[in-house]
Symmetry: C2
Subunit: 541 residues, 2 copies
């Protein structure tokens, strides 16, 4: 193995905009690689800026600072080859670029050919399309470069280029965000590319949370036969050194348990959102229901029980059972629970409104929302006073149909379950209890019937169809863009119910627009992934 | 003038998604045109769907419904030529299309060549780029077609096409949103195009409000010499019939008074947001300050005083003067004013929090925000009870630096002043008072010093630099993307102040992200026009 190359895939966690810190992290990795006699070290797409930098890219000073960092990085490449992603301006054009430095000199640059501009991606807003390919030789190995989307696209020109300029190895640097089953899809795409082009592939992906997006890492080495030779950790940093040529060995597999990866994504999402925004502690309204329990469980794993401050905020409509279950939860998960009864404040509001304005009117949704908003006020006051991050506990099913109160339970810096349908919330709870048997979510919370407890004997099922039906409709309408008739054909659920749910989803865009960011987990998440008008006269029938 | 063509520019107000209503409106216009012996009637870009339809375009059923409408429209073109904009799918590709129907038959289709994907635009998310040009002959006049952005771009291929296929007239159908000075810029662009290509131009633009965007209409007829022959109304529907060939005559000019157009844009924005979302009445928190006064004035013109319900919600920190000025305002503008003291509710919150949790702690921003949020709760309860649209009164200066309370005064379905810097708020107040001398904003409101009145003797100037400085920095940083050094060079304002403001703008993205939509007026509005990450480590120095 004398002629082996040692190649490091530096799958690291960067923060958008934090150019100096990102650069230091890159330089530290290069130094460690040199110590370990690594020949080539590669970093993910746009890692100096973080991904996605959004409109920071329009700021000339931002681009200038990246250029300075790039020089610092180039200077650190004594006796090593470095492949690194960053935005790069050429005259008036900005490119999504991979630079290759060898021994402190620029070997060449590749500009991304395929700019994704769908789903969560807006790359055509910022970047010009590259229209050339790039390969180089290092220590007798011919290596081609591509960036993320380039390897997802069946590009005949690139195929021809690789044929005319035979390379042994393709290094693809990526910032490919997580969604459920994405890892399998990614393997399939990269594996097909390798086979079709008869080229080994090192796929180096970003890891970390950035607002709505989670990058899962899961970098891979795949042989020219399409075989998975190595897979890096998911949801975790890793500087993995690979010996090249690739040789088969016992490997980490692509996990088939989606719940496991969903839970890990949520944990990383909460941790990175909190820490990257300078919060170490979170505050959560604890109702005794399943959603706040699962948000607590995720936060427990992400930040530790001592960094969670839970609050029960009951009125007379909240059962004793709810408070008891909240207490059991805080005991099991070892976080502090405060109790603040909002009854007096609620009464004061009611007496003010009913003394004149609402006199002789019936109670309705206004009074229900009011309770939720009084809770939000107290939680935000505590958040402001102690600088804790308020987590909103709403799930995707609720937010889709507007079964949540804007400025009430929708309040918070982050809504970890925003992209988690209610039925999946339950599955996560059960998964968590198996994995953390010493810090269980009380069975009573999992088994009770969901209720907002905003009026006497209220149940979610009073206003909504069973969650298993709601979630089916939600999935087919939002993720698969099916029409009402198509949903009916697929599910046989009563058409009036389908119509009602679809209407509610459309009508409640205004609430979601003012809700907190969530963590994208499904194929189509509310947020930058799904961009609907608020003012919208379309009827799906 | 026997051989004259009569051409109608139908500058109409459509609603996104409301395909059936939009189609009826189009058909009605065609029928009226036929009665008036119009030869050609043209409608704005994407008028069947409304603009911008956003992710509705991904819905296949939506596209199908548009195709049905298109057939209905085609059927109505007996003895008339109709140029109409709509999304159009060809196999898997969607185009931003202009169809020309003559006498119930399709004459041809043009697919937009230049898809804007910057600022508020996302057309590359949805559409494929057209790569052919289109012209047709009708009643011996050769007419070319283009769509919006096509006429803003210096396209040599199109120039060559027009040379090789000499047309007398170009019809450009547009959905070009308003911003200050845009009308002049638009005239310059279209006029230059006409001169360069020696072609007459009819420029038919959309009118109406759609979420953050206002389309101002201002359709134009411009001669091949670049001369403005006719200008349609701004901010108002018009079916203007032009005789072709164009002949000079006394015309409506492009207005030089920007305040006038800004005010009209805000009025149209409030009216269309309310009505298109099925609200006839608005509710506004009236503080006795300038912002709520200007929002009332805009609403008065948009919806009438009888459709405004104002509320004063004082605590002991609000001066008697504030309440008196609020009353004067409601008298002058003839809207109803309710008064709800929040002192007791505030006291109840404080006693709950200080009984234990906050014991021995100092009052700070938490208590200030709390007052603002108690107000929001009451306003939202009233909004929920009576189905009034809550308008948020915050201005661009406040929202930029986070001098506003999330879930407090940031609450509302729409924030009319979101894109209006404080100094411009004052200019609008003065403009309004001149224009509506019988319904004046009280001078006392315009002349008093701004204060949030959330603690004793508070003034905005305690925490912020003078608004004239703040607004300069805001403009140069947000609209012109200047760095701190460049702003210093341009303004000579103390660098520490510039740095502080820029930091605050960056840091408060999380608040704006959960704020209501506003009405875009400046060159760069917070919202879909300016897309910054929440998690953002970039420092502009």
């Amino acid at each position: 193995m004398k002629n082996d190359l040692k190649i490091c895939m530096s799958q690291l966690n960067f923060k958008v905009g934090a150019i100096d810190n990102n650069t230091s992290k890159i330089i530290e990795a290069i130094k460690n690689c040199r110590k370990k006699k690594v020949d080539i070290v590669c970093f993910p797409e746009l890692c100096i800026s973080g991904y996605p930098p959004e409109d920071l890219l329009i700021n000339k000073f931002f681009i200038k600072k990246i250029n300075s960092s790039l020089k610092r990085i180039a200077d650190e490449t004594r006796n090593i080859c470095c492949v690194i992603g960053h935005p790069y301006r050429v005259k008036e054009n900005l490119y999504n670029c991979a630079s290759v430095f060898i021994n402190q000199k620029l070997c060449g640059r590749y500009y991304k050919n395929h700019l994704p501009n769908y789903g969560v991606f807006d790359e055509k807003r910022y970047f010009q399309t590259g229209n050339e390919f790039f390969s180089f030789e290092y220590k007798k190995t011919k290596i081609a470069i591509s960036i993320c989307e380039d390897i997802w696209v069946n590009d005949k020109k690139f195929k021809k280029y690789l044929k005319d300029n035979p390379s042994k190895l393709l290094i693809n640097i990526s910032a490919s965000p997580y969604s459920v089953k994405k890892e399998k899809l990614r393997f399939k795409k990269v594996s097909n590319f390798a086979k079709k082009n008869q080229i080994d592939v090192l796929y180096c992906n970003l890891i970390g949370g950035q607002d709505e997006l989670i990058f899962d890492g899961s970098s891979m080495a795949i042989s020219e036969h399409g075989k998975l030779i190595y897979k890096a950790f998911s949801f975790k940093e890793e500087n993995k050194i690979i010996n090249y040529p690739l040789r088969s060995k016992k490997i980490r597999k692509i996990p088939s348990n989606n719940i496991d990866s969903i839970f890990n994504a949520l944990v990383l999402g909460v941790r990175d959102y909190a820490l990257k925004n300078n919060f170490t502690k979170v505050i959560i309204g604890i109702s005794g229901g399943i959603d706040s329990a699962v948000v607590s469980a995720i936060s427990k794993v992400a930040l530790g029980g001592k960094n969670i401050y839970g609050f029960a905020l009951p009125t007379e409509y909240n059962s004793d059972e709810s408070l008891q279950l909240a207490k059991n939860l805080s005991d099991n998960l070892a976080f502090k629970l405060g109790e603040l009864s909002i009854q007096k404040i609620f009464n004061e509001n009611i007496s003010l409104l009913y003394s004149n304005l609402f006199k002789d009117l019936k109670w309705d949704i206004a009074e229900e929302n009011l309770q939720s908003r009084i809770r939000s006020n107290l939680l935000m006051a505590i958040s402001n006073k102690f600088n804790y991050l308020l987590l909103s506990t709403g799930n995707k099913s609720e937010m889709s149909v507007g079964y949540s109160t804007i400025y009430g339970d929708l309040s918070g810096g982050l809504a970890p379950l925003k992209d988690i349908p209610k039925t999946l919330v339950y599955r996560i709870a059960k998964y968590y209890n198996k994995k953390y048997p010493n810090n269980k979510i009380p069975a009573g919370i999992i088994n009770r019937e969901p209720s907002a407890e905003l009026k006497p004997n209220q149940k979610d099922s009073d206003s909504l169809p069973p969650y298993k039906d709601l979630d089916k409709i939600l999935n087919l309408y939002v993720e698969s863009f099916l029409s009402i008739n198509e949903i009916f054909t697929a599910t046989k659920i009563d058409k009036r119910i389908i119509k009602k749910i679809v209407d509610l989803i459309d009508k409640n865009e205004f609430k979601r627009r003012q809700g907190p960011p969530g963590i994208k987990v499904t194929n189509v998440a509310f947020g930058k992934d799904r961009r609907f008008p608020i003012t919208n006269g379309f009827k799906n029938y």
